[in-house]
């Protein structure tokens, strides 16, 4: 009982203290009263401590299976392992909101620690804005969806965790995504603080650049992990379905990507200031919107939590945040004037601008497609949903455009690139790209978008390699080291630029995987008797037999299939069917044979007494490139994130006159 009380009263006192923090921070900031500011900051720290206490008690209650608490009874049961009991903390609605809040308060604490001396004039407003968001979530947890609600009669056993979620990928995917999601609140708070205080120089932009990068990295890897999980667990052979919740996680990532690019223009050229502020605000609003979509039940989705009754609270908060932020932007427009104007189409600024337009357009297209069912039901009373074909049709051409920019952007120079210069730098990548088209046509691949995607990726990859080569050569001329250490020096001395190029490289690889696996996926469904074979594309699958297994929480049937390519045995896959006991639910564990050129994806559906079994086979070409691209992408973003000074030696080469 002690822990339940501790949790309950902690979130209540956190609510009260968040209000005092908001009050004292804003008043302290306006009056420049250091005592008030200090009270605001201390209250925020107290809120953090209280939320930590509440979270710990909820986790403890889950670990000891205290079924008096409704949340515990609904999300764990007697047979669930400790690891999954821990992950049940974010498995349900109340807990996931708690995690949101916990991360938010943690970030708030870190921001206070980092910036108290550096950005003192901004800090009260930053803390205030962070606490407004915290207040909103605390309000939900105190009045709308109570994590420490009690059962009248504690049940003997809990309901348990959905077996689909009993997978390590699913355990780390939500917190990973949340780390990113919540991270966007920090840049937003700095943005609001800068707008309120009118200190709209580059200082706040520099402070949040790293935070945005951090949030963006976790958001991106969270999306990738989600895709990897869907591919492995859901058994339909894909990784992305344009589901509302997936879209909701992608949209802030897109606007944040746009921001990370356009902020460079602001730093280098003092342009696009209004635009950057708007992008941060949009990212924040989309984050809240995403959290809302997952919970409100206004959109049908496989991911959605239970339909809940507090959708309107989110809506009210969203409108409030939208109104206040844009009001502030409007009042500060005069301070957000551009220092320069765009001078040429063939400049890096123009490239960045174009990239921004494309990213925001994609975001709007996705938003429109996601929200259309709601609009249509409200306006026409017709219930519809927008299928993946819409999203593909709209986003594939725009994606191609991005793919082009991925390589073309780095080749351009700031301000202006003269035509002769362009010819020089674009020649090699264009030749390589055309070579790519030629090779594909040689192999009789005619799918328009696949060919385009491939050649554009090749173009971009070669452009990026060229950039690395040129830079390394430059260092080599000066320092006469070997290419590897030149490459290392180059990257480490200009982490943001060359780390960014590595991210581009990863994305290009990822695009190749996406294009190939969606354009050339082969799907076959067949019923086989043991010993029979079946051809899928160029691959032959032989069904060897099946085996039964019983574990504590499920019973399973596992089929064995040998995979032959050109007469050689290249591997064995074991698709599996499981039937969980509590809650009673069957799941499909696909048998996946991963390879460099293609993945074999086998789903096993049922088996009769003679041993004949139904299968669904898929060959997904180049699918592993997606995950590989993801790894390269992560590496690149980590390099961007490293502190400036790391690995920096012999920096003087850059200051020498060219």
């Amino acid at each position: 009982m002690f822990l339940i009380d501790l949790g309950k009263y902690s979130i209540f006192s956190a609510l009260v203290l968040s209000v005092t923090s908001i009050f004292f921070s804003f008043f302290g900031g306006f009056l420049k009263n250091s005592r008030f500011i200090k009270v605001g900051i201390n209250s925020a720290i107290s809120v953090f401590v209280l939320i930590v206490a509440a979270s710990c008690s909820l986790i403890y209650l889950l670990m000891v299976r205290d079924y008096r608490v409704k949340y515990v009874a609904n999300h764990v049961n007697n047979s669930l392992e400790a690891f999954y009991r821990f992950s049940a903390f974010w498995g349900g609605q109340e807990g996931s909101l708690m995690l949101w809040l916990l991360l938010l308060c943690l970030y708030c604490y870190l921001v206070i620690r980092q910036n108290l001396n550096r950005n003192l004039d901004l800090m009260p407003f930053v803390v205030g804005t962070l606490m407004v968001t915290a207040f909103f979530f605390l309000f939900l947890l105190n009045f709308m969806t109570l994590p420490f609600d009690l059962n009248a009669i504690p049940p003997v056993d809990g309901k348990g965790l959905n077996p689909l979620l009993q997978d390590w990928g699913m355990v780390i995917h939500p917190p990973n995504l949340y780390i990113g999601y919540v991270g966007y609140v920090v840049p937003f708070s700095f943005c609001i603080a800068a707008l309120i205080s009118g200190k709209l120089d580059d200082q706040w932009i520099q402070t949040i650049r790293r935070w945005t990068l951090f949030a963006w990295f976790f958001n991106g890897t969270g999306i990738l992990l989600g895709g990897a999980w869907a591919y492995k667990e859901l058994g339909w052979g894909g990784y992305w379905a344009w589901d509302p919740v997936e879209n909701a996680s992608l949209m802030p990532w897109l606007t944040a990507t746009a921001f990370l690019h356009s902020v460079i223009i602001q730093e280098k050229r003092g342009m696009l200031k209004v635009w950057n502020v708007v992008l941060i605000i949009l990212t924040y609003l989309l984050t809240i919107f995403g959290t809302f979509v997952t919970r409100s039940g206004i959109l049908s989705s496989v991911h959605a939590f239970a339909n809940s009754n507090f959708g309107w609270v989110f809506l009210v908060y969203l409108l409030f945040a939208l109104f206040i932020s844009f009001l502030l932007v409007f009042f500060r427009l005069s301070k957000l004037k551009s220092e320069h104007e765009l001078e040429s189409f063939f400049s890096r600024e123009a490239g960045f601008l174009l990239n921004n337009v494309v990213f925001v357009s994609i975001t709007f297209a996705i938003f429109w497609g996601t929200m259309f069912p709601v609009v249509s039901e409200l306006v026409e009373g017709i219930k519809v949903t927008v299928g993946p074909p819409f999203f593909d049709q709209v986003n594939v051409p725009m994606g191609m455009f991005l793919l082009l920019l991925l390589g073309a952007g780095p080749l351009m120079a700031w301000r202006i690139t003269s035509v002769s210069q362009m010819k020089k730098s674009f020649l090699v990548p264009i030749i390589v790209g055309l070579l790519g088209v030629f090779v594909l046509v040689l192999f009789e691949i005619h799918h328009l978008f696949a060919v385009m995607a491939f050649s554009l990726s090749v173009f971009s990859i070669s452009a990026i390699f060229l950039e690395f080569y040129k830079g390394s050569k430059l260092i080599k001329e000066r320092l006469s080291l070997n290419y590897m250490s030149c490459f290392w020096l180059l990257t480490m001395n200009n982490k943001r630029r060359f780390g960014g190029y590595i991210v581009h490289l990863g994305m290009a690889i990822l695009f190749v995987g996406v294009a190939a696996s969606s354009a050339y996926q082969v799907t076959e469904e067949v019923r086989l008797r043991p010993g029979e074979s079946f051809h899928v594309g160029s691959v032959r699958m032989r069904y060897e037999g099946f085996k039964q297994e019983i574990s504590d929480s499920y019973r399973a049937v596992r089929a064995k299939l040998s995979v032959f390519n050109m007469g050689h045995l290249i591997g064995t896959v074991f698709p599996e069917r499981r039937i969980y006991f509590t809650p009673p639910q069957p799941t499909t564990e696909a048998g996946i044979g991963r390879g460099f050129l293609f993945d074999i994806y086998a789903v096993f559906s049922d088996v009769d007494s003679r041993g004949a079994a139904s299968f669904k086979f898929m060959v997904n070409p180049l699918l592993n490139w997606i995950w590989f691209g993801g790894i390269v992408f992560s590496l690149g973003s980590i390099i961007c994130f490293l502190p400036d000074r790391w690995g920096k030696r012999k920096g003087e080469i850059f200051s020498l006159k060219g």
Binding site: L342, E343, F364, A365, E525, P586, T588, D606, F615
Partner: protein, 156 residues
């Protein structure tokens, strides 16, 4: 400078309008999936649009041709019922009396040719029960039966 500005404005306009065109043209009816009830589908004129229908499988109507991997059944509406065919690996726990979601197009004989068939998720139904919403009364009993049959099907 101003001529430069006009150039950029025109370029921006062209780019934005082409994206707008993409987004609008994507909203063709074949990209939309209509959510309809069984009765609405039966009354509706047959066209090629994609439909998603939810309903219970009519007791005793489920026929499976296992070797051809074909399934045939009827979904029950309030006033009428809708025949559905599906080719492929059937979803888990497909049984008479179960709530299903079928997605597909109508053929000329008034049968829904489903390309996507889902059994409404059990956990969803538990939520519905908690909230006192309409649901198949003996859903859990049916599910237990199906599970038993499933485990019998697997030879030991």
């Amino acid at each position: 400078m101003s001529s430069n500005k006009i150039k950029f404005l025109i370029a921006g306009f062209v780019i934005l309008s082409s994206f707008l065109y993409l987004a609008v043209s994507g909203f063709k009816s074949e990209n939309l999936v209509y959510f309809l009830t069984v009765d609405e589908v039966v009354k509706r004129k047959v066209d090629s649009s994609l439909l998603r229908v939810q309903g219970q499988i009519l007791e005793g109507s489920l026929k499976k041709k296992i070797d051809a991997m074909q399934i045939y059944f009827k979904i029950l509406g309030k006033e009428s019922s809708l025949p559905v065919t599906y080719t492929g690996v059937p979803p888990d726990l497909l049984e008479n009396g179960f709530p299903v979601i079928a997605e597909g197009r109508m053929n000329s004989e008034g049968t829904l040719v489903a390309h996507n068939l889902m059994v409404a998720c059990p956990s969803k139904f538990e939520e519905m029960k908690e909230k006192g919403e309409l649901m198949p009364e003996d859903h859990l009993r049916l599910m237990e039966k199906a599970l038993k049959r499933k485990s019998k099907e697997i030879p030991n």
